[in-house]
């Protein structure tokens, strides 16, 4: 049996280019990844690293148009999303793959009741009767731990708090039992105390349903401990990916290392200077030749500015896959990787 067949998500070398008035922007520039059922992958990076665009491209929400070009393969449950006709692609959204968006304030239609948001999807994809759709919707609200679900069904989004709204959005995403859930910064717009609740909820639901999840965030703390694997993105490319614990404990790419080092810790001594990363992300209209992180990397040498490093297996002496895109990865024995 082909190993690729049990992959819920199989992305190969996807590139997304937007045509802007000032020129083409390659928001995603050659990313590959894969997920099995029940796995959780975290995608981290700064704003502008391309992680949101990646999420939407993978799902097909961003697709080929006069101003957008997508190359590479994005297979969900075996089907190449971008090779499908729009009508067929829409059929995937809901039953196979679903997305949870960042801002619950604006993800829900203010003039529609909460219940309608859920029953719409149910009736559209599963063709159930109105009564059954209502029942299922109430059940969904219960699964996301919304108290008094029957009452909430009739309310409007503005009558709910931010955390509850996000739960509704999650319920909406799960309505048709997707195999893959893409959560794009699901907690960024929420209070810190609520963030933990939502992330825990996502983890529980994913485990219960054996659902593959992609968690996109710029918040490393959100990703640590809740994901099996993590991919670090910079300037449209993956620079490091491996098991989460490995990346967090022993990052190999200078960017990943710098990112982790920049997080202030509660046990730091008072007046510790924040270790910010100098410089800013490159202009994606005109990315630098060579390694894109080189202008900001404290280890950069000439080769880094001239030759762009490939994402490849790093022989760091362990059994699991660890990919990094650096000429001089921070391995215990620092050697040039040729």
């Amino acid at each position: 049996m082909n190993e690729r067949d049990d992959l819920v998500l199989d992305v190969r070398d996807v590139r997304t280019t937007f045509l802007t008035p000032r020129g083409p922007v390659r928001a995603v520039d050659g990313v590959s990844m894969s997920l099995r059922a029940g796995e959780t992958l975290g995608i981290v990076g700064e704003s502008g690293s391309g992680k949101s665009v990646l999420g939407r491209t993978v799902m097909g929400l961003v697709s080929n148009s006069p101003t957008t070009t997508i190359t590479g393969e994005c297979r969900i449950a075996g089907l190449d999303v971008h090779a499908l006709k729009p009508k067929d692609r829409r059929k995937l959204w809901g039953p196979e793959v679903a997305m949870v968006f960042q801002d619950p304030m604006t993800s829900l239609n203010p003039v529609k009741r909460v219940g309608t948001h859920l029953t719409e999807a149910l009736r559209l994809h599963l063709g159930v009767s109105r009564k059954e759709a209502d029942e299922r919707a109430v059940d969904l609200l219960r699964q996301v731990f919304i108290p008094e679900p029957v009452r909430r069904m009739k309310q409007y989004p503005h009558e709910l708090s931010g955390g509850m709204r996000q739960r509704v959005v999650i319920a909406m995403a799960l309505a048709c039992d997707p195999k893959l859930l893409i959560a794009d910064e699901p907690t960024t717009a929420l209070d810190v105390t609520v963030q933990k609740q939502i992330l825990d909820l996502l983890a529980t639901l994913a485990a219960d349903r054996n659902m593959a999840t992609i968690l996109i965030s710029h918040d490393l703390g959100a990703v640590e401990g809740r994901t099996d694997r993590v991919a670090v993105m910079y300037a449209g490319r993956t620079v490091e990916t491996s098991q989460t614990s490995r990346v967090f404990n022993a990052p190999v790419h200078p960017y990943a290392e710098a990112l982790l080092a920049s997080i202030p810790r509660i046990d730091d001594a008072p007046h510790t200077v924040l270790r910010a990363i100098d410089g800013s992300p490159p202009n994606m209209l005109n990315p630098p030749e060579g390694c894109r992180f080189a202008p900001r990397c404290r280890f950069a040498v000439d080769r880094c500015h001239q030759e762009s490093p490939e994402l490849r297996e790093l022989a760091d002496g362990t059994a699991d896959t660890h990919l990094g895109a650096c000429h001089f990865p921070l391995l215990p024995a620092r050697q040039e990787v040729s």
Binding site: M59, L61, K87, R90, K91, L92, W93, G94, P95, A98, M99, F101, D103, T106, S107, L108, N109, P110, V111, K112, E120, A121, L124, H125, Y156, H158, V169, M172, A175
Partner: protein, 316 residues
């Protein structure tokens, strides 16, 4: 509740000002109403008697109060020009014509504007969108009397599809009525169509950029359904406001069209009576027109509560 009573208070104040303004203005009209009624050549005493009778020698406020108290009970006075019919009666006869024209025009405009706007917004920036926008912009720039004349030239006289003048009461003959009303209604619709399409299109484009539209797409809903169920309703607020303003305004502004097509509506009645110096008719008609406008606008305000659930309750 307090909001509503405040609004009503405002309404009444506005009506007072309008009615007083019209009343005062009419008294500035040149010429002597007594002369207008009796005609020239009578002995001065006759005119004086008539003036006494009509109460024209009383103070301005006194006369205003008399008129207003009559108006509230439904008596707007008597027309000065023979046949001296009751003003209220004349108005009740002319009002339905104007109302029908205005409503018909608005309905035509709305029915055409909604699909045009939806199509434009869905293909924003495309060739068809630009063409529609350009046409609408051009239509806005054509004055209604010109448009009316041209349409008459082409359709009524040239092709003979529609009659030029006269009117058939809706109570008598519905198809005949519609036949006469259609061309004038189209003239009215043209201007409103351009306005509605532009505003609805712009509003739709803004709404379509909202996150919940993206979320709806991500749920797998087909684009036309998203347009109708998700985008149309939030976008309709400005359209509803505009419709209200249009409706109130049109009742009187059907003047041009009524004049062109020789239709017995409020507008042409006001024009003729103004020319004849028939001030009770002018006063009463303008009051009614203003009343309609103000009431319709209040209705629009209240309907917001239904359309946008966010405004339904008093904000905490």
């Amino acid at each position: 509740m307090r909001r509503i009573s405040l609004r009503i208070g405002e309404l009444i104040a506005v009506l007072f000002v309008v009615s007083f303004g019209v009343f005062a203005m009419v008294t500035l009209m040149p010429g002597d109403p007594a002369v207008a009624i009796l005609g020239e050549g009578h002995p001065p005493q006759d005119y004086e008697n008539l003036r006494q009778e009509l109460g024209l020698n009383d103070g301005l406020l006194h006369r205003y109060w008399d008129w207003l108290s009559g108006a509230v009970t439904g008596d707007l006075g008597t027309s000065l020009v023979p046949p001296q019919t009751d003003v209220t009666e004349r108005i009740l006869g002319a009002l339905p014509v104007s109302v029908e024209l205005a409503v018909l025009g608005l309905v035509i405009a709305l029915v055409l504007a909604i699909p045009l706007a939806m199509w434009s917004a869905a293909h924003a920036g495309g060739a068809i969108d630009r063409m529609i926008s350009a046409t609408m912009f051009a239509t806005l720039s054509v004055p209604s009397f010109l448009a009316g004349l041209l349409l008459i030239m082409i359709f009524a006289n040239g092709l003979g599809w529609f009659p030029r003048a006269q009117w058939v009461r809706i109570s008598e003959d519905i198809p005949g009525n519609l036949h006469h009303a259609l061309l004038p209604a189209i003239v009215i619709a043209m201007m409103e169509l351009a306005l509605f399409t532009r505003i609805l299109r712009n509003d739709l484009i803004v709404t379509l950029n909202e996150d919940y539209i993206l979320a709806a797409r991500a749920k797998g809903m087909p684009p036309w359904r998203i347009m109708v169920t998700d985008a149309l309703r939030p976008s309709s607020f400005s359209l509803v406001t505009l419709m209200g303003i249009s409706l109130g305004r049109l009742i009187g502004s059907t003047v041009i069209v009524e004049y062109l097509f020789a239709l017995p509506g409020m507008g042409s009645m006001i024009v003729t009576s103004a020319n004849q110096g028939d001030y009770p008719l002018v006063q009463g008609a303008v009051l009614i027109v203003a009343l309609v406008y103000v009431v319709v606008n209040a209705g629009i305000d209240l309907s917001y509560g239904y359309l946008d659930p966010r405004t339904r309750r008093v904000h905490a």
